[in-house]
């Protein structure tokens, strides 16, 4: 990273007040607001035209789900980073968007300084984990290990098509489970690093790996589903 002049952000939110306020805040902080969009379709158009580094994406858009916007943004530009922001935070919606490839998740009640830090981490490709997200990811691994059907509300994607658990379920290592549980209990990376005698960077890597494994699994499921359905 060579500084914020390179940090181009697309703000996607269907509430004009929030959109403008966040865009203004980001510009004040030295980021470049590449554009704003009020729905998913517009977000995809603006992203294709302005090629932002980070997309700040509200989960609750009028035309498509956060997971779908994320998937399509990444299909258009695999290098794009998506930071999910949500107000009401339906747990399944958040998880769907994260496994679809989003890099981070933040609740809207976060302070602006937290938001700014999250945008910067996201641009650097670092997963932004709230304790809530860690709880969701832990739960998802347990669900996959149990070979259970997806939780109610998983309306999109092949995982909800009632197919049996695939033979190669992603698993957490003992260390990863330990780290994720500590994140979910509100400990910061430096605190976890001190407790487990690791470097903060290693902690960050463990956390990030848990998400990447889920995203790869999700992608493989999508491909498998497409092949089974005869969709090329």
């Amino acid at each position: 990273m060579s500084g914020d002049s390179e940090l181009r952000v697309l703000v996607v939110d269907d509430h004009p007040i929030w959109r403008h306020s966040v865009a203004a805040g980001l510009e004040e902080a030295g980021c470049v607001v590449a554009g704003t969009a009020g729905d998913g379709a517009q977000a995809l158009r603006v992203a294709a035209a302005t090629r932002p580094g980070v997309v700040l994406l509200d989960l609750n858009l009028p035309d498509m789900s956060g997971a779908e916007v994320t998937r399509r943004l990444l299909a258009g530009d695999p290098g794009i980073r998506v930071l999910i922001l949500s107000a009401s935070g339906e747990r399944q919606d958040v998880l769907d968007a994260m496994t679809a490839g989003a890099t981070g998740y933040l609740v809207k009640s976060a302070q602006f300084s937290e938001l700014l830090a999250a945008v910067r981490s996201t641009a650097a490709g670092e997963a932004v984990f709230t304790p809530g997200l860690a709880g969701l990811v832990l739960g998802e691994y347990r669900r996959l290990a149990a070979g259970a059907e997806p939780a109610a509300g998983a309306a999109s994607g092949p995982a909800s098509a009632g197919r049996p658990a695939s033979p190669a379920q992603p698993r957490l290592t003992e260390r990863e489970t330990e780290v994720l549980r500590l994140v979910a209990k509100g400990m910061t990376y430096p605190e976890i690093a001190a407790l487990l005698v690791l470097s903060p960077r290693t902690v960050q890597n463990h956390v990030q790996n848990t998400l990447i494994k889920l995203q790869l699994h999700n992608k493989a499921q999508l491909v498998r589903y497409a092949l089974e359905q005869g969709i090329e």
Binding site: N60, R142, G186
Partner: protein
């Protein structure tokens, strides 16, 4: 439902028409007026065609047509006297329409329920008795069968229609509730957005705006609790969603993390876990310092459900348990342990100076 029943009437009519044709073909040599026998069969065939065509459309199911249906059938029963010699009738020969007459009774039952069916059956039975001029055993059995066809057929149709109407009402109600919830979600999301915005911007501005920000923040977490708690009130198969019980505990200083799906538990352990977690959080508020924050983590590994409540407050060393007891903290810990023991669960308390306190509550499923 009604459609299927009318189709059954049509099929019954065709089958009984074929049966009547077979009987007339077999017996017409012995009729006093064989030509009249063929004419009666022609009338039955034509009337069957007319009624099947008319009853196939909802607009054709008129009361007068159903009455005419019964009248035609009764007329044909009475015509037996003119066509078949009295000696044969007295010997128990079938009537000209035989069981075809019952198809009009079924039509009455489908159109008018049990009352309609019984009324139609009475007319056909009366015609039957007039035609026989006696009540032999065979006719009596036929009468009972026609009464059953009319009464029971009508009752079944009525039951079916009621069930259909009830299912329809339920589907409509469900759709209305789903739509109301969808609208409510949209409104809640908008309000949460604005409250969150006021809270964050106000905090940055400071002064009086900071006070507004604090109020907005409180309302935001209250509304968030209300929205997320609403889902817990709907139990599934006698089980309660623990996530829905715990989420309302979240707020500006408390974060609740759960799996994406429902964490289903029987009612008593779910309530015990929620109450114990609530007590642990009260304890944090009282003893861990004003700046302390707390995190609640819900984990479900299938065999057991674990709820951890951690704070980043002052904490205490293991060797200072007595001190903690004096401060009233252990008493609360004992009450939490008791709650968990009552539902066959466990509670353990860990604390390290400077790392806050953690209470781990666990309930096994089996």
């Amino acid at each position: 439902m009604a459609e299927q029943m009318w189709r059954v009437v049509a099929v019954f009519r065709v089958v009984t028409l074929v049966y009547a044709a077979v009987l007339i073909t077999r017996d017409h040599d012995s009729y006093s007026h064989p030509a009249a026998g063929w004419l009666a069969l022609g009338v039955m065939a034509a009337w069957s065609a007319i009624t099947i065509a008319a009853y196939s459309r909802p607009g054709g199911r008129q009361t007068w047509l159903v009455c005419a249906d019964v009248a035609v059938a009764a007329g044909l029963v009475l015509s037996t006297r003119l066509i078949v010699p009295a000696s044969q009738i007295n010997a128990g020969a079938p009537t000209i329409p035989s069981s075809w007459a019952a198809s009009s009774v079924l039509a009455c039952a489908v159109a008018g329920g049990p009352a309609g069916g019984l009324a139609g059956a009475s007319v056909i039975i009366a015609a039957d008795i007039v035609e026989r001029q006696a009540l032999p055993q065979g006719t009596l059995s036929n009468i009972v069968l026609v009464l059953i066809a009319g009464g029971v057929g009508g009752y079944i149709v009525q039951l079916g229609l009621r069930a259909e109407a009830a299912a329809d009402r339920a589907a409509r109600l469900e759709a209305a509730i789903a739509e109301r919830e969808r609208i409510a979600r949209g409104i809640h999301d908008s309000v949460l957005q604005v409250l969150a915005l006021v809270a964050t911007r106000g905090r940055e501005l400071g002064g009086e705006a900071a006070e507004l920000a604090r109020l907005a923040g409180e309302q935001e977490s209250a509304l968030r609790s209300l929205v997320s708690g609403a889902s817990a009130s709907r139990p599934e198969g006698g089980l309660v969603d623990l996530a829905g019980l715990l989420e309302p505990l979240g707020g500006s200083r408390v974060t609740v993390s759960c799996p994406a799906g429902a964490v289903l538990l029987a009612d008593p352990p779910a309530r015990a876990l929620a109450a114990a977690a609530g007590e642990a959080l009260d304890n944090v508020r009282r003893h861990a310092g004003d700046e302390a924050r707390a995190w609640v983590l819900v984990e479900d590994d299938g065999a057991a459900v674990t709820v951890s409540v951690r704070d980043n407050g002052l904490g205490f060393a293991d060797g200072r348990l007595a001190e903690a007891e004096a401060a009233g903290r252990l008493g609360v810990a004992q009450s939490i342990k008791g709650r968990m023991r009552d539902v066959g669960g466990t509670a353990c308390l860990r604390s390290l100076p400077g790392q806050g306190t953690e209470v781990e509550l666990c309930v096994r499923r089996f």
